[in-house]
Symmetry: C2
DNA sequence: CTAGTTGCAAAGAGTTTGCATGGCG
DNA sequence: CGCCATGCAAACTCTTTGCAACTAG
């Protein structure tokens, strides 16, 4: 957990904010901030902290084994599902009502308790399909 | 894609069949067949082939960066969602009708085209919750 | 036979860590 | 000032690859 507010931390937070709803790999991030003063280990360490704090969310796509991260714009993101486009990597937010409907539907048909924040729908977005 | 039916390939297929519905890491697999005659590179190469053939499915859990694999018992697995328990790793199969209902629900509310076979619900199973 | 597969060891990619230096509060 | 964070390089883990030997068909 973070104690100090370093310039490296701020560089990363702004970068994530500028790329909200995009899945960013560590390389994407490193490339995006390459003109700034920040080492790769600082990137890794800050990302881990931001992830612990719930400011960004960690992901691993099935095809690459690389870690990716997405900025969590608001804390309500825990009450709705996310839809991520396999092609362009953009993430959309499913309406809360639809999300709840899906959770209930699953609950009715099995004893499985779905974790909304851990589940991501993959598919194709309007532009890519 | 496979051409020959080697003993190493058969060792792996039986191991996957014995552990259907479990998420197996490469280490799990290597440990499970350590008494058999098979090298780690053969495991990796066969797994890649089995995955291409659709006999097993590749996964990466969010927390570890490790690849995991699950045996696909029947080819119908493309028309229903899977529910994976975050705790014990077991996978359940959602009824096809429920799966379709969910896909439709999403389609009604957005232009997103969900890919059933790429999407996995994470949560807690009856025993673990 | 002969092309695909294996085992080994070496190479790669991504990530983590130890340690001295530097900076926030 | 004291502790936390940084940068660098080395270490680690998981996975892939080159190559000679082996084997299924």
């Amino acid at each position: 957990m973070q104690k100090y507010n370093t310039s490296q931390r701020e560089i990363l937070i702004s970068f994530f904010k500028e790329h909200a709803d995009e899945l960013l790999s560590v390389n994407d991030i490193a490339a995006g901030v390459s003109d700034k003063q920040i080492s790769k280990s600082a990137i890794y360490r800050n990302i881990a902290m931001l992830s612990d704090e719930g400011i960004i969310k960690h992901f691993v796509l099935e095809d690459s084994r690389k870690s990716c991260y997405r900025y969590i714009s608001n804390r309500e993101c825990k009450s709705h599902f996310h839809l991520t486009c396999k092609k362009c990597g953009k993430t959309m937010h499913m309406p809360k009502s639809t999300s709840e409907e899906i959770v209930n539907l699953i609950g009715e048909n099995s004893a499985f308790k779905t974790d909304i924040s851990q589940t991501v729908f993959f598919g194709l977005c309007e532009n890519c399909k």
